[in-house]
Amino acid sequence: MTLLRSNTPAQAMPSANASAGAGRGAASMKMLLITVLGWTVALVIFFPILWMILTGFKTEAAAIADPSFIFSPTLESYEAVQARSGYARFALNSVAVAFGSTFLALLIAIPSAYSMAFLPTRRTKGTLLWMLSTKMLPPVGVLVPIYLIFRDVGLLDTRTGLIIIYTLMNLPIVVWMLYTFFKDMPKDILEAGRMDGASTLQEVFFLLLPLTLPGIASTGLLSVILSWNEAFWSLNLTSSKAAPLTAYIASFSSPEGLFWAKLSAASTMAIAPILILGWMTQKQMVRGLTFGAVK
């Protein structure tokens, strides 16, 4: 089996010039140029990821041989990663930490965002901005105390510890995103519910949550993505027991250049789910990442 032979950027370029020289109608030539340019740029940017995915299916020998798209794919690196090193444990840590922190953050943020969106007071804006500003605190500025506190209460290298950190780390973004989604929900509908006799809880469960579910889901996904990819706290606060995939992948950095295929296989597995989640939620994420400043 041969993979993706003709799609390398290096080969796409000349074909663009060739057809440009052919001289068709100006509009369609421009279209063609844009198409080729767009795809070339996209593939160049994506190339390292593509290359990593391909390398994961190579043997270690093929991985360090001259670059080639032609090789006989093998799953041996995947098998090796699975068998050795307890990949599953790291993956499980990542899942537990990412979903645990997201669940907690949503749980804490939903009531808060609800009250900010539907029962605003004079202080609501200030509170929101203050929450946002806590996100500006660089983690490295508080690394020392957090490390010492975690050491003293036995949270170093525990999932609980990371979950706590990630919950707090993502809480402002989660509150903020939920707030903007809740605010977008027409107030009239909740008022109609109240006229129909809904209590606050019924309002939340029959109207607010079903109607803002897509927003809540994308908020949750953003939180999962951010926690999954977080690499400052995970590198500094975990060593072996609770280390998530970010830390596990980092461990490949020491025996330099030896296990490229295995590194690639492990990396592919580590990023695949998040890559797909990211693709699915890109539109909504902009809102969360820019605190609603860009829509």
């Binding site: 009531p111 203050w130 020392v144 506190i149 998040i274 994420m285």
Partner: protein
């Protein structure tokens, strides 16, 4: 039910308070305790390797840090890293946004591919670049250079900071693209058409219509990237460990070295305070802008 509903609405302030209490309390603790401790430690003699030595240090930790050439080197590296990555991602992101705004065959898929690096965890992207792309003998770039008859570059020893800049820019370019592309989609098509009727060509449209429209999004991108880029850590940790020498040590990595490699809590905390101050200078502008946005 009638009673509780009515009272619930009238004492709305109280209800609001109780609903927000968990989030506010947690964030308050998260902010105040570590921040207070960092500031406190920064004025103490506190080295985990020298338990005997403790007590008030005054500004000695700051003095030590500020006279340490490593700090200035690290600050310089931080600024270079932030500056270059910002320049590359903002300019590149704007151009890419214009490109991916065009309607071409398979645009949706091309967009998805182009924003993908942003979703790759930093340790993975750093290692993929370090090993498979930039490796001096077996990397793709070396192979490309050789095929063109050029000498291969030993990226991490010859151009260490440049290498880091490339990796980080590769991660953040998609972020800029994603944000600017979204902003671009809110550009009023009528405005573009009106400009075209007024005789504006594509370049005039870019400079007089598109760019002004993107101004706000661009400043948001700059500020958010700045906050993250000021404390880039994982990419340095897994590639160069700050070396060779201090060539790729930024502020975050320096603090990490002082704290968890030298165990000098006092000096590391002083560094932390400096990082917080730097981040806050940026944050003030960002918060102000978001606040303004809240008004609309």
């Amino acid at each position: 039910m009638t009673k509780t509903r009515a009272s619930g609405r009238t004492v709305g302030g109280l209800r609001t308070l109780s609903l927000q209490a968990p989030a506010v309390t947690l964030l308050l603790l998260w902010m105040i305790i570590p921040l207070g401790m960092t500031i406190w430690f920064s004025f103490q003699y506190y080295n985990l390797l020298m338990p005997g030595m403790s007590g008030f240090a005054g500004v000695e930790n700051y003095e030590y840090l500020l006279t340490d050439p490593a700090l200035w080197k690290a600050m310089g590296n931080t600024l270079l890293l932030v500056g270059w990555v910002l320049a590359i991602t903002v300019v590149g992101g704007t151009l890419l946004a214009v490109l991916f705004q065009q309607d071409f065959a398979g645009r949706g898929i091309a967009r998805v591919l182009a924003i993908s690096p942003f979703f790759v965890m930093p340790t993975v992207s750093a290692l993929v670049w370090k090993n498979m792309m930039m490796h001096p003998s077996n990397g793709v770039l070396a192979w490309l250079a050789n095929s063109l008859g050029l000498p291969a570059v030993d990226w991490f020893s010859a151009l260490p900071l440049t290498s880091i800049v490339i990796i980080v820019a590769w991660q953040w370019l998609p972020f800029a693209l994603l944000i600017l592309l979204t902003a671009m989609q809110s550009l009023d098509e009528d405005q573009v058409e009106a400009a075209r009727m007024d005789g504006a060509g594509p370049i005039a449209i870019f400079f007089f219509i598109t760019l002004p429209h993107l101004k706000r999004a661009i400043s948001v991108v700059i500020m958010i990237e700045m906050i993250f880029l000021l404390t880039i850590f994982a990419e340095i940790f897994v590639t160069t460990s700050g070396g060779p020498g201090l060539a790729t040590t930024n502020l975050a990595y320096l603090i990490y070295m002082r704290a968890l490699l030298d165990f000098d809590v006092g000096v590391a905390s002083a560094g932390g305070v400096i990082a917080i101050i730097l981040a806050n200078i940026v944050a003030i502008f960002l918060v102000r802008m978001v606040a303004k946005n809240l008004e609309d």
